[in-house]
């Protein structure tokens, strides 16, 4: 909503407050002023000129030599506009003038002829092209005959104005009109609102003599008022009216159309003017469209209508799409002499749906959608009739043709001042509350310590006590509200165990060298199920904005890999990212997908990179496994976790493991399949993804310290030659079992696969630590135990001691 401060002054005295200060007051009171547009900013030395003569430039086809009377003198100005002519009053920018965009006007010579300035179009003065009347859209602007040469053209054009652009919240549709704004500003400044005086002499002929009305859709159209104006002359509107429309961002057309737009902006009540003669039937019937019925709207588009759309008809065919747009067949034109002014209340939901369905949003439909003021429907029609009499020489027929079943009652709200103060935490006196509501022109009476408030119909946002509390508080000033904290039992806050452990997971991953990533949940169909840990139906958007973001992810890895590729493509060779987030699986009973928290990681490039000491190490499977092991240790789950060789789509078949918690798969870790690596333009890359919900649901055991050993432990190393397929893990299991209670620890310290061992075999070396917390072990005890371990190894895996 553009509010011209010059226009606003007609309805409320702003006491000369600077526009910027007024904007600040309005913003602080509740309606945000987004921008302040000073229309005369940067404009100087621009006057009214009268073109005495206009001749073709002898040297240039497209230029005209004009002698222009600028008051005291007549000067020569060269003008290239096609529509310049002798006898016109024009806008002359004289030498020294400044125009928007930093243009300065100087005395100049054009093809040998002196030019003492420039004849301007409105656009050259910074007026938006789409608000300039079509007649002047492509050339200079022609001023009316009464413009006096030499006077300031800016005030004549109403450009000595500052516009406040309101950013209205959906509840404040009352401010979609100049009068609504005047009520608001009046309340802020404690000033009265001056309403327009509607006075005209009606003809003896009555509207009902020439027009009948039938409303067949009372729910969607509870009120319809039609007035008839005869013998008017369609012409250009007076400049003041055009100026106001342009200030509001509306293009002037002709006096009849301009008047309907002016009243729409003034009252917030959309009007429509029909050419009475083109209606042809002397009848208006409001009904729902017949399914498939066709009509051509003002924008020359033929539209096929639906049965839920409300139309205005002449009893035979539609002449307007109610509240959205008029029809071409009944449009006012230059030769129109009699018009029907329509002012109606169309149900918000109906207009909202129709305007959405046909894809048309207009100044009219946006106001109907929010609900116009029931008490101003008839008045707006009278206001338009008055202006048509004054500005178009029309003869207004007496009375109107009306259908009216609209509820016009205001809403009564009882409010106790204690309630207000209790809710606000303030002590505003009752008479102060009465005074504030009075400033807002909201009828209020104080009775028995209660306020009886009748919320006016123009303020449809006022329905309950809290709405009034807001009115009182915002005008009393939010700065006056004290600062307190909630009183009452104070309870300790905190994270639940899942949240706490999720933070722990993040901190661990970061201490392990991974950066936290956040990627999009929406992905493409192709990637939605890649790397998913479980198979479940996908969750798909009804109307995606693009295929790339049409389905909810079932794994965090695809987007993490995309991020890795993004980095590698920018020559960041080492990438280490992790993410915690939800995946979306299937549909539960409540219609929602199961959302499961996951953690995933991707590493590629060098893990150790300390170049000047020649220490470089590429990432490998065991770096990622180390991260997983460290995480499990942090979560106290090490004893419950095992790893099993596995194959997964997209992962290297020989370098992939399932991660199991108490025997159930909780995740996967492995190398990205070389084909996938190629697809993503990545070198060797390792990934991991786990079901975080499962991991964190498992509780760690209580942490009780184990006594620091008082007796020494004893170590024995063994080197074994085993088949290449033998897993170190199963050998360690055998050792653990045979070692029994005395074996405290077993660790791999060497792996050899080369020509020093027989083909098809490898050598694995383990370090075994024996220990008894109660005493020092004897050599004999250790030897006996160790021999049992060796025997078990030989028996169960065919392992041979390496010579």
């Amino acid at each position: 909503m553009y509010v011209s401060t010059k226009w606003l002054e007609n309805y409320v005295d702003t006491k000369g407050i600077a526009p910027a200060d007024l904007a600040e007051k309005i913003t602080r009171a509740g309606i945000e002023v987004d921008t302040i547009i000073d229309r005369s900013e940067g404009l100087t030395n621009i006057v009214v000129g009268h073109v005495e003569s206009c001749e073709k430039h002898p040297e240039a086809d497209k230029l005209n030599i004009c002698q222009v009377n600028i008051g005291e003198e007549t000067v020569q100005i060269i003008c290239g506009a096609p529509n310049v002519a002798a006898g016109q009053n024009i806008i002359a920018a004289l030498p020294g003038a400044k125009l928007p965009g930093g243009i300065k006007i100087k005395k100049a010579k054009l093809r040998g002829e002196v030019s003492n300035g420039m004849i301007c179009s409105l656009q050259e003065l910074g007026v938006e092209g789409k608000t300039v009347a079509k007649a002047y859209a492509e050339g200079i602007y022609v001023l009316p005959a009464d413009a006096k040469p030499g006077t300031d053209a800016l005030s004549f054009l109403g450009l000595d104005d500052v516009i406040l652009e309101f950013d209205l919240t959906p509840n404040r549709s009352d401010a979609l009109s100049m009068l609504g704004v005047a009520y608001e500003v009046g309340a802020i400044l404690s000033e009265d609102v001056k309403l327009p005086k509607i006075e005209y002499t009606a003809s003896n002929e009555k509207a009902e003599d020439v027009l009948t009305l039938k409303v067949e859709a009372k729910e969607d159209n509870p009120m319809y008022v039609a007035k008839v104006v005869k013998n008017l002359k369609v012409a250009e509107s007076p400049l003041w009216l055009q100026n106001y429309l342009m200030a509001a961002g509306v293009r002037p057309h002709n006096n009849v159309v301009d008047i309907t737009n002016f009243v729409l902006l003034e009252y917030g009540q959309p009007l429509h003017a029909f050419d009475y003669d083109r209606l042809a039937t002397k009848e208006i019937v409001v009904r729902h469209a017949v399914e498939g019925e066709k009509m051509t709207t003002l924008d020359d588009v033929e539209r096929t209508l639906h049965a839920d759309q409300l139309v205005i008809t002449n009893g035979k065919e539609p002449v307007a799409l109610a509240g959205v747009m008029g029809g071409a067949n009944s449009e006012v034109h230059d030769g129109t002499t009699t018009v029907v002014i329509e002012s109606a209340y169309f149900a918000p939901a109906s207009v909202r749906k129709t305007s959405k369905d046909v894809g048309l949003r207009s100044d009219a439909s946006t106001r109907f959608e929010k609900g116009v003021d029931p008490n101003r429907v008839a008045e707006a029609a009278e206001r338009a009739a008055q202006l048509m009499a004054e500005l178009a020489g029309g003869e207004v027929l007496a009375g109107s043709v009306q259908f009216d079943e609209l509820d016009k009652e205001s809403v009564r709200i009882l409010l106790s001042p204690d309630y207000v103060n209790q809710r606000l935490g303030m002590k505003i006196p009752m008479d102060e509350m009465v005074s504030i509501l009075g400033r807002l022109q909201i009828p209020v009476e104080a009775a028995n310590g209660q306020l009886v408030v009748d919320a006016p119909t123009r303020r449809q946002d006022l329905r309950i006590r809290e709405d009034l509390i807001e009115e009182i508080a915002r005008l009393y000033g939010y700065d006056e509200i004290p600062m307190t904290l909630p009183i009452g039992e104070s309870v300790p806050g905190g994270l639940n165990s899942f949240q706490e452990k999720r933070r722990l997971v993040r901190r661990f991953m970061e201490s392990a060298g991974l950066y936290q990533a956040i990627t999009y949940s929406l992905t493409s169909r192709a990637e939605s199920q890649s790397f998913a840990l479980e198979t479940a139906p996908v969750t798909e958007l009804l109307m995606p904005m693009s295929e790339d973001r049409s389905i909810l992810r079932q794994s965090l890895l695809p987007h993490l890999l995309d991020a890795t590729t993004y980095n590698v493509a920018r020559r960041i060779d080492t990438v280490s990212l992790y993410e915690t987030g939800s995946v979306f699986l299937g549909t539960q009973e409540d219609g929602l997908p199961k959302e499961v928290g996951h953690v995933a990681a991707v590493i590629t490039g060098k893990w150790v990179d300390h170049a000047w000491q020649q220490e470089n190490k590429k990432v490998d499977f065991f770096v990622m496994k180390g991260i997983v092991e460290g995480l499990m240790d942090t979560l106290g789950l090490t004893d419950k976790v095992t790893y099993a060789k596995a194959t997964h789509d997209g992962l290297h078949p020989g370098r992939t493991a399932d991660i199991l918690l108490d025997g159930a798969v909780v995740g996967v870790l492995g190398q990205l399949h070389p084909t996938e690596q190629k697809k993503h333009d990545l070198k060797e890359t390792y990934v991991m993804e786990m079901n975080l919900a499962m991991l964190l649901a498992e509780s760690a055991e209580a942490l009780v310290y184990a006594q620091v050993p008082r007796y020494p432990s004893m170590s024995r190393d063994i080197a074994l030659v085993v088949s290449k397929d033998e897993a170190a893990g199963s050998l360690m299991d055998i050792i653990q079992e045979a070692g029994g209670k005395l074996l405290k620890d077993v660790a791999v310290f060497d792996l050899y696969e080369g020509d020093k061992v027989e083909e098809g075999t490898k050598s694995l070396a383990f370090s075994l630590t024996y220990f008894d917390p109660e005493r020092t072990l004897t050599d004999e005890e250790v030897v006996t135990r160790h021999d049992k371990v060796l025997a078990a190894l030989k028996e169960k895996s065919g392992a041979v001691l390496r010579g």
Binding site: Q422, E466, P482, I572, G591, H610
Partner: protein
């Protein structure tokens, strides 16, 4: 003999003084104190002396021997020290070379902001509540005083899955769910999470972003409590000198509704590019819980009142760290992420 002894001492001390290495010094030791050295010889020759001179001479010889030995030891220590110093000199390294990097990652800047906000409110007695990102229309809209067909639904064009299920457009449904499950108990929660809106991604819009909302419900919760809480929060988050101001606004689920500005943390209020010359920066929306919302969740609005507030960690991170494009948060460029690795205090 006395003279001979004195000469011997002087000679030995000079040689000790002159010795330049441990080896030379050892040679001196053998030469003078060894079994075949002159001092031993002198001691051996004592038998030829008259008996009454022997003790005197014996004492003298011992003094000389001790003097030489002490001197030898002192010199030896000095030489050893020198040898160590020489060795250390050779071991000198270039300490200007870079150290071995410690491999560390860090929080995403949004997590950093969210955790900072969470921790402040936890210290004020709030719990952290979370809910599903795919929501029922009921919790996302209807329970929040946004019935189907409500014009304010236009404010948040949403991604629907079915007619009744959508990607949540704000974290407010977590408030609705919490109220429904607490069944009349007082509430103090903070709700962080991902939300989704039908926006084309550009420098200031993202179809996925983060929100963090708060809700307090109890008997006699006042608007002044909201203001006091937010003022404390602003100081904690943006600096002790921050002032706040409330401006009226509109949200369907609160009445009255406000927007909160803080005095600009860059210019302190005098006006700069961060605050667009106004001295104030809009940080969050808030309000008193609408009676309809309370009623729908089973709270009697005559007894219970509450306040709610909500903000965007992206916006806060953009303001705090000067990030100019919201897409940076989701691109996961290592050169961006790795900048958020240090403390600000």
């Amino acid at each position: 003999m006395e003279q001979q002894l004195e000469q011997l001492k002087q000679e030995a001390l000079q040689k000790i003084e002159a010795a330049a290495s441990v080896k030379e010094l050892n040679d001196v030791r053998v030469a003078y104190l060894g079994k075949k050295g002159p001092i031993t010889d002198l001691l051996k020759g004592m038998g030829k002396l008259p008996a009454d001179e022997r003790p005197k001479m014996g004492a003298l010889v011992n003094v000389v021997r001790e003097t030489v030995t002490t001197s030898l030891e002192e010199k030896m220590e000095l030489l050893e020290q020198q040898a160590v110093n020489e060795k250390l000199e050779k071991e000198t390294i270039d300490i200007s070379l870079p150290g071995r990097p410690v491999k560390l990652g860090n929080h995403h800047p949004l997590t950093r902001v969210v955790e900072e906000i969470e921790d402040f409110f936890i210290s004020m007695g709030y719990e952290v509540a979370e809910g599903p990102e795919v929501e029922q229309d009921y919790y996302n809209f209807e329970a929040l005083n946004l019935p189907k067909g409500h014009p304010a639904r236009d404010m948040q064009d949403s991604f629907y899955i079915t007619e009744d299920v959508l990607l949540r457009t704000h974290t407010s449904p977590v408030q609705a769910r919490t109220m429904a499950s607490k069944k009349g108990e007082p509430i103090k929660i903070i709700c962080p999470g991902k939300v989704y809106r039908r926006d084309s991604d550009d420098a200031t819009h993202s179809h996925q972003f983060t929100q963090i909302e708060g809700l307090v419900v109890g008997e006699d919760i006042r608007m002044s409590d909201l203001k006091g809480t937010l003022a404390l929060f602003a100081k904690k988050m943006f600096g002790e000198e921050r002032e706040i101001r409330l401006r009226p606004s509109f949200f369907p689920f609160t009445e009255p509704s406000v927007e909160m500005d803080i005095s600009c943390f860059k210019c302190g209020g005098s006006g700069c590019n961060v605050c667009k010359k106004t001295g104030w920066i809009e940080i969050l929306g808030a309000g008193m819980v609408h009676p309809n919302v309370l009623k729908m969740a089973g709270y009697d609005p005559e007894v219970f009142t509450g306040f709610a507030f909500g903000m965007g960690p992206e916006r806060i991170a953009m303001l705090k760290y000067g990030v100019e494009d919201i897409r940076h948060f989701f691109t996961n460029d290592m050169r961006f992420l790795s900048q958020f690795n240090r403390t600000e205090v």
